[in-house]
């Protein structure tokens, strides 16, 4: 039986695909991989399951608010955002297409995740070898493990002298 409302499963997802990440606006919340499920309840009510990237991410509440607003614009009468912790979010869930958009934006997309316990590698730590997103040079160095947001590290290219960010594998 069709719902007395224009919102469908497909249109709900389409609305969510248009919600940008507040910190990295070139990718959407769906491409980031944090939207784990959409369920139409009834009467245009919809429940969205979202998993946080980092436990303390300050953008999380803004993202919830934007998800609610986007779905209401798409015709939802009531939106519930449910937080789901398990399985924990990983950078492996970032959409492949979005990875190249990140690079074009100046953020190197996350590489391979370390799995299991890693031995502590001591200083000078061999940082992940990254190609500069601007000039492509491999002559880069890490300035800090933590960047402007918890999810990024700060790097510098020694060839073109430009700083850039790296989306850390998680």
């Amino acid at each position: 039986m069709p719902l007395p409302n224009t919102l469908t499963h497909d249109s709900a997802w389409a609305a969510l695909r248009a919600v940008p990440d507040p910190e990295i606006p070139v990718i959407s919340v769906t491409e980031l991989g944090i939207v784990r499920g959409v369920r139409l309840v009834d009467q245009g009510a919809v429940e969205v399951t979202v998993t946080p990237t980092y436990a303390g991410c300050p953008a999380a509440e803004l993202i919830d608010a934007e998800i609610v607003a986007a779905l209401e614009r798409a015709g939802a009468s009531q939106v519930t955002v449910r937080r789901q912790l398990a399985p924990a979010w990983t950078t492996d869930w970032i959409d492949p297409d979005a990875r190249e958009r990140l690079r074009a934006y100046g953020i190197v997309p996350p590489g391979e995740r370390a799995t299991g316990l890693q031995p502590i590698r001591l200083q000078p730590r061999a940082a992940d070898k990254l190609a500069c997103p601007r000039c492509g040079s491999g002559d880069t160095e890490r300035l800090s493990q933590f960047g402007a947001t918890a999810c990024k590290a700060l790097y510098r290219c020694r060839a073109c002298r430009e700083p850039f960010e790296y989306f850390k594998p998680l």
Partner: protein
């Protein structure tokens, strides 16, 4: 979230809440301490790094306190638990309430605590409490970056200049006795372990040492870490705190004490 939690373990409700608070408060209080570095870091990258770590810790504390409040079932949320409990109701390890002092002591404490958290999250991810297990699995990923950051700096400063080495040696001598509390099993710990809720603190020691000791050796600080244990035992997790705790809570709680229930 006012949902009533379906508890299936053998622990009493009070013990269960207490067990979660011990973990939550250690994250919260270290997060509060590290946030004091905001605007005071030696260089901007490190200012940002320490406050990012603080943010992760406060994020973990929020999830854990929310869970503790739901388990308790008295309607207390994360804010009430963080801002309206008195000093003796906090259950954090004493080491995290100690003052930051200089950057060296701050990163050294981060090493000791992050290595403990890494060991804890790894084992807690198998907890019978599904929410606790999920929070642990999530936090483990964040803690690994904290551990790397602290290990790098410990080596750099320990095996650094004469002055940095002197300060790190002094910091380790100061902090080391507080690590005995990490691995001290009491009746609650044993009950929680028997119920499959959390690992026994003493069971975390091998993994902790496997992280910490090689770093201290590389940092040329190992002699300050010996003998391995001291007769001194702190009791933060049982609510008996150092003289520094009240001074930490006063600015942290001032707003909610003056205007209970105020919101942004």
């Amino acid at each position: 979230m006012g949902a009533v939690i379906d508890r299936t373990c053998d622990l009493s409700r009070d013990q269960h809440v207490e067990c979660v608070l011990r973990i939550a408060d250690t994250s919260l209080i270290l997060g509060q301490r590290l946030s004091e570095w905001c605007g005071h870091g030696p260089v901007i990258e490190e200012d940002i790094a320490l406050t990012n770590i603080a943010l992760d810790l406060v994020g973990q504390a929020r999830l854990l306190l929310t869970h503790a409040g739901a388990l308790e079932g008295q309607g207390r949320d994360e804010d009430q638990l963080a801002f309206l409990r008195d000093e003796s109701a906090f259950r954090n390890l004493a080491i995290v309430e100690l003052p930051n002092q200089d950057f060296g002591r701050t990163v050294l404490r981060n090493l000791l605590v992050a290595a403990w958290q890494d060991a804890l999250w790894t084992q807690l991810a198998a907890s019978q409490d599904a929410e606790l297990a999920a929070i642990a699995a999530k936090s483990a990923k964040e803690t690994r970056y904290h551990l790397q950051h602290a290990a790098d700096w410990t080596v750099r400063l320990g095996d650094g200049t004469a002055e940095s080495r002197r300060r790190m040696g002094r910091a380790l001598a100061y902090l080391w006795p507080y690590t005995a509390e990490f691995f001290d099993d009491d009746a609650l710990d044993r009950a929680a372990a028997a119920a499959g809720l959390a690992p026994l603190p003493s069971a975390l020691q091998p993994a902790w040492e496997s992280h910490v000791l090689p770093v201290l050796a590389e940092a040329t600080l190992i002699e300050h870490a010996l003998p391995a244990r001291t007769p001194f035992l702190s009791h933060g997790k049982r609510g008996r705190h150092t003289e520094h705790m009240g001074h930490l809570l006063a600015p942290m709680q001032a707003m909610q004490r003056a205007y209970p229930g105020c919101t942004w």
